[in-house]
């Protein structure tokens, strides 16, 4: 059931009824009416190597290193060779055939919004296109090419991490399916940057193919959006700024999974157990994942964004007029801000089109009931949450004409790896530690279970984040004055900037939106310049507060750790191992309940926030980055956040006595029939 309508069509349906081979061999006509005829891969690479920009850089590098230009040129050619894709339709067909088989085995449905594909087709005819999907699974990697092939649209070239290339055979197949490979840590390698950016820009300038890249940079282990990486963003925007193309379309694409194929690895990875290296053997061994059921996948193509429209009034393209356009140049502040805002906007739009599964709503409830919850209550609260997120504008894949209880049990059984039922209690599926293992081992196992569940909560978190920040602000505020609440909201937004992805410079707008969402569902009243939680709204605000509480708690622990006496100056590595020990102790003593604090993602986000808030200073020494804390500032931050604990507690206490009205009220254990009453 989707209240914001987006019509999806299951593309596997046809695959299940007709031949995969004829699908793979179908006639394919690339839809592109743009003027110049397509060029070959070798012409493309030649253009890159002969470009003026690369020439400048090679001269610079040669001067810096003292190596002859010829050697540098060869190095550049080597980099390009390593990087370059070699897109061939034949391989796409081959892959299409394989993927048809794989997808049918893994998924019940692959739902696609065809209208989005039509918009994409239109965009492709008008300007070079950049496909910007979110990245939650390795499966993302080729699903778009598969879809575009199916729908006769230009096959994209895809920015991939170099480890994929290392896989025997697979690397080459991917390369011929359009993947180009980027080293993980480029750092300050000038030549590498130059080859890469020239490569990407040439593809766009020549409109060789759509460029696909993950603006998050990495696969998100938390299933939450990651703060954007701007390197590629700059590269794809620049041809527009410099007038080399009329416009560029950015297409946010949201890929949502009922169940993520690599779910069992995620928790380990965020707990710091390194992910297995990508190898072909590893892939073959992973065959057993093929026997599992991963439910539905949704691919939602968003509205193409015209960079030209976005940049109107924000970027003055004349800034390039006085310098040769090929000359290497640091992006100006306005350009940088624009790239940053645009990347955040794309992430936000990705989030808006994510399709929430009933399961991720369940996981959100479960996370607030880690000790287990009665199935009936879970059902009620999940249904309640469904209405809330629909009110907040989310897309939810809730089957129509199916009893809620059935939806629930289907979700629970699909996720048997995360939850189990004991009688009518729903509990996290936790592996029992081996006998005689250290108590830390138990915490670790518990953490794996909780964080796995948390990942699925995270799939829905973006819908709740901004209203939740408002709810927390409401609970922290001493009075109900709008200005106070706004300030707190803005503070929290800054604090959790990387955690929940907010668009820069939109605090005011986001605040208004959050207010109107809560107002719409009767949670708050806005009278004069005061914002007040209504009696019946309390259950909503406390639910929302509780949804983000693990993060608040985690940050508090991190602040406490940094402020502790032993900590002076540290590297990220030192910090992560230090905080781990510190937290482990706190969990063992029962002082801390949040497991999110064990997540290396949360830890890094907190660091980044402190740097943003100038409570940490970053220094570079001998190729190492050191952080030195301003403990007073961190202490103050912790105080503001901390004030909340007592209050939230007392409100939660009151929670149980609130009555049901027309506003969505969280069903609670008393489980009384819900009489609809109207306020007179």
């Amino acid at each position: 059931m989707l209240s914001r309508r987006e019509d999806f069509r299951d593309i596997l349906e046809e695959r299940r009824t007709s031949s995969d081979l004829s699908h793979a061999l179908k006639s394919f006509t690339r839809v592109s009416s743009r003027a110049s005829p397509p060029c070959s891969v070798s012409t493309l690479n030649k253009t890159v190597l002969e470009s003026q920009h690369l020439h400048y850089i090679m001269q610079e590098v040669s001067k810096d290193t003292g190596e002859p230009l010829e050697a540098i040129r060869e190095e550049a050619a080597g980099i390009l060779e390593e990087m370059s894709q070699n897109l061939q339709l034949g391989y796409i067909r081959f892959l299409g055939f394989i993927l048809s088989k794989v997808f049918k085995r893994l998924f019940r449905k692959i739902n696609v919004n065809e209208e989005g594909l039509q918009r994409l087709q239109q965009a492709m005819q008008e300007s070079p296109v950049v496909l910007m999907p979110n990245h939650r699974s390795y499966v993302d990697f080729l699903v778009l090419s598969y879809l575009l092939f199916t729908y006769d649209l230009s096959i994209p070239v895809i920015a991939a991490g170099i480890p994929l290339m290392g896989m025997q055979l697979i690397g080459e197949i991917l390369r011929r399916s359009g993947a180009f490979f980027i080293r993980r840590s480029i750092g300050t390698d000038k030549l590498y940057w130059a080859v890469l950016s020239e490569y990407v820009k040439t593809i766009l300038r020549k409109d060789f193919a759509p460029v696909e890249f993950y603006v998050e940079g990495l696969r998100s282990r938390t299933l939450k959006s990651l703060p954007p990486k701007l390197g590629m963003m700059h590269m794809v925007l620049e041809p527009f700024f410099k007038g080399e193309v009329y416009d560029i379309s950015l297409v946010p694409i949201s890929i949502s999974y009922d169940r993520v194929v690599e779910e069992s690895l995620l928790a380990y990875e965020i707990l710091g157990v390194p992910k297995p290296k990508e190898t072909t053997m590893g892939l073959l061994k992973a065959r057993k994942v093929m026997d599992e059921d991963y439910g539905n996948m949704h691919v939602c193509f968003g509205h193409p964004l015209s960079v030209r429209d976005l940049a109107k009034g924000k970027v003055n393209r004349k800034q390039y007029n006085l310098i040769p356009r090929d000359l290497p140049m640091k992006p100006s502040e306005s350009i940088h801000a624009f790239a940053n805002t645009t990347a955040h906007l794309v992430l936000r739009l990705q989030q808006d089109n994510m399709v929430l599964s009933p399961w991720s709503l369940m996981a959100t409830i479960l996370m607030q009931n880690l000790g287990g919850i009665n199935l009936k209550l879970l059902t009620k609260q999940t249904v309640w949450l469904k209405w809330l997120v629909l009110d907040f504008g989310a897309l939810v894949d809730w089957p129509v004409q199916v009893a809620d209880s059935e939806v629930m049990s289907s979700g629970l059984s699909l996720h048997h790896s995360v939850v189990r039922c004991e009688g009518d209690q729903v509990l996290l599926a936790e592996q029992k530690p081996q006998r005689g293992a250290a108590p830390e081992e138990a915490v670790f196992r518990r953490a794996v279970a909780v964080l796995m569940c948390a990942s699925y909560r995270n799939q829905a978190l973006h819908v709740l984040a901004s209203p939740a920040m408002l709810s927390v602000a409401l609970s922290l505020a001493a009075a109900s004055s709008r200005a106070d609440i706004y300030n707190l909201y803005a503070f929290l937004r800054e604090m959790f900037y990387n955690e929940f992805i907010f668009i820069p410079d939109r605090t005011g707008q986001d605040f208004e939106e959050a207010c109107s969402l809560l107002q719409k569902c009767g949670t708050v009243q806005i009278i004069n310049q005061n914002i007040m939680v209504t009696d019946k709204g309390l259950s909503v605000t406390s639910f929302l507060t509780a949804a983000v509480e693990p993060f608040i708690d985690a940050y508090q622990v991190i602040f406490r750790y940094i402020c502790s006496r032993s900590v002076q100056e540290f590297t990220e590595k030192q910090f992560i191992s230090g905080i781990r020990t510190f937290t482990l102790n706190l969990i063992l003593t029962g002082e801390v309940k949040s497991y999110d604090v064990l997540s290396s993602e949360t830890q890094k986000n907190a660091l980044a926030s402190l740097v943003r808030l100038n409570a940490l200073t970053k220094k570079k020494r001998e190729e190492q980055t050191y952080f030195s804390p301003n403990k007073a500032a961190i202490g103050r931050t912790a105080d503001i956040l901390g004030k909340k604990n007592s209050k939230i507690m007392c409100r939660l206490g009151r929670n149980s006595s609130c009555c049901v009205t027309e506003a969505p009220v969280m069903p609670v254990e008393q489980d009384s029939p819900a009489p609809i009453t109207f306020i007179s």
Partner: protein, 634 residues
Amino acid sequence: MMGRGTAVGSRSGMASDRSGYGRQRAARQRLEVISGHLGRQEASGACEGRQADDVHRNAVPRRRQDVLKWNGWGFRDSKFLFNKKGLAELTGKRYQLSGTLMPGLKDWFEGTFGANLQHRSPAVPALNPSVVPPPNLHAAFVEALKEATIPCTHEPEDRVFHSHGHCLHEIFALREGKIGRVPDLVVWPGCHADVVRIVELACQHNVCLIPYGGGTSVSSALQCPLEESRCIISVDTSQMNRILWIDEKNLTAHVEAGIIGQDLERLLREHGYCTGHEPDSMEFSSLGGWVATRASGMKKNVYGNIEDLVVHIKMVTPCGVMEKSCQGPRISAGPDIHHFILGSEGTLGVVTEVTLKIRPFPEYRKYGSVVFPSFEQGVSCLREVAKQRCAPASIRLMDNAQFHFGHALRPQTSMFMSFLDGLKKFYITKFKGFDPQRLCVATLLFEGDQNHVLNQEQQVYDIAAQFGGLAAGEDNGQRGYLLTFIIAYLRDLGMEYYVIGESFETSVPWDRVLDLCRNVKERIERECKDRGVQFPPLSTCRVTQIYDAGACVYFYFAFNYRGLSDPMRLYEQVEHSAREEILASGGSLSHHHGVGKLRKQWMQETISKVGLGMLRSVKEHLDPQNIFGNRNLL
């Protein structure tokens, strides 16, 4: 500006140029120096120049409306029309194309604009004098003028004629019979002394002067400022049109600034000389106007632009007369004061006399053309020609749309010729594989002594071949240049059928030429679409001049406005966007059209606040009363 007919007037007869050189040499002997009796009059007495209209000498008379259209381009006897069979023809006898039938134009016109010959948008038939606001005359000033015996008038027709240039919005308004603020008085000084007197009187009586040369401005420069409450006097320089002397030792000529291009060239030619300055408007535009707008001529590669041609300028300002003391070919004595005058657009004074470089009339002239598979390759070729500095007198590259346009203007030909054309077409598109929807054409004009021309020709064609260019014959080249001078007449034709159009230009560094062309054309198309223009507009460009470091690009933009409520506003919005796009793509505000009032808003960002301040302080110093109150530029 929108086409300025290259003067292939019947009398200048450029097509027959190759033969006449020897005869001219004799004439040159005969007319050593006209200077003697012509150059002597001083600022004191009456003007010799103030004589009855010499119709034999001047292509354009004092009462311009007798010969020129009051609400369109060019001569009254020359206009395009579709005859009963739907064949286009140019009436009159003035032009090479006059009287020939162009069978392809109707289809092109209807196909390109979605226009229909059944749907007409005719102009009001004649000027209704009663809609012209009564003149706001300054009695004492008029009296003083009469005393000085300088001819003037406040006839409505003359005043209306002097109230506009040839911007689309100006002509569109006239066609609709809408008359706005017009000058209150038109005055015809006959010589430098007359101008000195007029300016003195204007200062004395605090009236506003607007210099008027050929009236071919396309920057709203001649429009009377609405906020001007003083009496506005249009100073028409057309009667100051003599060559005062020719200096054959130094190859210079001293000429009154009101002379129009075709007369100047014709008169010089009688002595075996030319200036070689041929802006597209040269049939009508004046020497003073060229100086005031920093004009550029088609053949600048051989002769230079106006700033290269000028040796000496005399200008009357409210502060007095400004000129240099000698004719040294280059002077290092502070910033060149000529450059305050060049491009001043009538805001500082009236240019009265100019000493220009002249050249012997060229012995040999040859047209040529090259077809390229794509515009990109054409631009690369032009860039290489510029690099090797072997540019012919003129080299222009038309894009594909203009190629088709040019094709539509081909005259009716015999069976044999069209068979031959068919063969050529077959060769280029089928045998050579050029895509008819992508190919483009460069037109060439070589001028000079025969050997030099032939060598240069070879070099250019060799370069063209490197970029996939195929020589496409002299005829195609010549026809390409015809397009230039008749296009303004064609605009009037379009306006009869709900099609309006305009042109604008810019200059841009080489590396941005292609990007700028693509972006501006696309911007025009998208803006039109977004604003509800039903049929896609004609949005086309050509590279018309090349320089060491860049090129001049010229755009045409036209669309069918039938069914649109306010076509002029829409047009202005699109043109504004196009200019924004030009500036954002690294192009200049203008290459040679100037700023006027149309592009004033971009002056500060173009020359910086400080630069603007410098210009303002010059204006302040020379003209504190704002006598030259056309409010252009600043």
